[in-house]
């Protein structure tokens, strides 16, 4: 294994995986950092066995998801995005109306079906590309775009109701 190869892989995915973990551990920064470190250590150990036919995003996503599931099973149930929204909102409590709107947005996302909420989270909160999400969900990027358009309409409707 070459240092250069893994360094490039790390730079490409570290922010995304951190966010993935961050939104699943209730916005706990320190916990997110610990889990992100664990995930990339596992990735480093398995890097020589990586199959190039599988996309890198899908590969590291699978490692991250499995690690979070295993960790959560040991400690406590997976934190819902609502908790994240609360955490974020509480951290910036007293700030401007914009932050309040963002809190409401997170709550609205929580009201969506799980697969739609995951899609919104991966695309907009974690920064995944449609192509990468397609590799994980076995859907085409086009289908995901169409679905996302519908999700955003739903969110709009939810936000208008409140």
């Amino acid at each position: 294994m070459k240092r250069k190869d893994f360094a490039g892989f790390y730079d490409k995915h570290v922010a995304r995986i951190y966010k993935f973990v961050f939104f699943r551990v209730g916005g706990d920064k320190h916990k997110a950092e610990d889990l992100t470190q664990d995930i990339f250590v596992k990735a480093l150990d398995a890097f020589d066995r990586y199959d190039p036919s599988v996309s890198e995003s899908a590969w590291i996503y699978t490692i991250a998801r499995n690690h979070i599931i295993n960790t959560a099973a040991k400690e406590r149930p997976q934190v819902d995005i609502e908790d994240v929204g609360h955490r974020l909102y509480q951290d910036w409590e007293g700030l401007s109306e914009r932050l309040y709107d963002e809190g409401r947005l997170l709550e609205a996302i929580q009201k969506l079906p799980k697969d739609e909420a995951d899609l919104v989270q991966m695309k907009y909160l974690e920064g995944w590309k449609y192509k990468e999400i397609a590799a994980i969900t076995n859907k085409t990027p086009g289908a995901l775009r169409v679905q996302m358009s519908r999700i955003l309409k739903k969110l709009r409707k939810i936000l208008k109701q409140k």
């Binding site: 294994m1 070459k2 240092r3 893994f6 360094a7 790390y10 730079d11 570290v14 922010a15 951190y18 966010k19 961050f22 939104f23 916005g27 920064k29 997110a32 950092e33 992100t36 470190q37 990339f40 250590v41 480093l44 974020l88 914009r98 709107d101 963002e102 947005l105 997170l106 919104v120 907009y124 909160l125 974690e126 920064g127 358009s149 955003l152 309409k153 969110l155 709009r156 936000l159």
Partner: protein
């Protein structure tokens, strides 16, 4: 409305960005776990440069060696001469291979002069010397072989061609006239020495063949065939007529020595029967001895009252058989070789 939602989602995304200190520290921690292969980073470019140099060198060498464009004073001509030097060095173990290589290089030198003449290229003294050296080298290489005759013809042809071309070029390059003349002299001396030595070799080969044919024990001393002289007479004496005839036919001894039986009328005076004409056996002594002993002269006839008629003394000899004639021829043949210093 969608844009507003998207914008807010993006803002949320940015708030969840990891700390830069954290990502840098984690990266450093992970990279340290990977073993460093610094030597590959150094050797890889070196290997790449070396590979390129080898390929480039091989391609250049092939072109320099085989192209008609690469003539003396061309930029790549030294590459050709170096390759040829290496060829000769690799062939030194086998005299036959070395002779082949030397001959090939000679023909190349002749070809180069030919092309230079066609293109009216400038010829210098070193070019003349180069050809002369190639001829000498080829001659010496062929001379080291047991039988250089297959190479002699090719060497001679190449030398004649090159001499002819150089002489014709001398008229266009007056400054070369002296160099060509000197080279011709040098070559002449070398050729004379070679041919003299070859002649001795060929004669020795011929003599060895004949000695073996006669069943003689022979050896080479100081470059000459030496036979045991006591054996010669014995063998000749022991030869049966048909064997002698075969030897005559094979060696052509009859051409070398002619022996005719002499029959003369003897006077009334008796005289002792003369011994058959024999030649002394060939000896190993360095001083030559007479080949044939003349029979004792007959006594002079007594004068008569009649007008004196001086008659030549005559010797009555018994008629020689054909076999004896042939044996005599053989003896005289060997005596001739001994007098010539070809055998001792």
């Amino acid at each position: 409305m969608n844009l507003i939602i998207k914008r807010r989602l993006n803002q949320l995304c940015k708030r969840a960005e990891p700390d830069r200190d954290f990502t840098v520290a984690l990266k450093r921690h992970l990279i340290k776990k990977i073993p460093s292969r610094w030597h590959i980073h150094i050797l890889k470019p070196v290997a790449g440069v070396a590979t390129f140099a080898i390929i480039f060198g091989m391609t250049t060498g092939v072109y320099a060696y085989g192209s008609n464009s690469v003539l003396p004073h061309h930029l790549l001509y030294p590459v050709r001469t170096n390759i040829e030097r290496m060829e000769r060095a690799l062939a030194t173990d086998d005299p036959n291979d070395y002779a082949d290589v030397a001959l090939k290089h000679l023909e190349k030198r002749v070809h180069e002069i030919d092309v230079m003449d066609e293109r009216s290229a400038s010829v210098y003294e070193e070019d003349v010397r180069r050809v002369t050296t190639a001829v000498q080298r080829a001659m010496h290489a062929a001379d080291a072989l047991g039988d250089p005759r297959p190479y002699d013809v090719r060497i001679r042809n190449a030398e004649v061609r090159s001499a002819s071309m150089l002489h014709s070029m001398a008229s266009e390059h007056p400054a070369l006239a002296h160099a060509i003349s000197e080279s011709a002299k040098d070559l002449g001396r070398v050729v004379w020495k070679m041919e003299t030595k070859r002649k001795e070799v060929y004669e020795n080969v011929s003599l060895r063949y004949e000695a073996e044919l006669f069943g003689l024990v022979w050896s080479i001393e100081q470059g000459k065939v030496v036979v045991e002289t006591e054996d010669v007479e014995q063998i000749i004496s022991n030869m049966r007529s048909e064997n002698v005839q075969e030897v005559i036919e094979t060696t052509g001894v009859t051409d070398a020595v002619t022996v005719e039986p002499t029959q003369t009328e003897t006077p009334a005076v008796e005289k002792p029967a003369s011994a058959p004409v024999v030649s002394e056996p060939v000896t190993t002594s360095p001083t030559p001895e007479p080949a044939v002993k003349e029979p004792a002269p007959a006594p002079e006839p007594e004068p008569v009252s009649e007008p004196t008629v001086i008659q030549e003394p005559v010797t009555e000899q018994p008629a020689m058989t054909e076999e004896e004639i042939i044996r005599e021829r053989l003896r005289r043949y060997f005596e001739k070789l001994r007098l010539q210093g070809k055998i001792e």
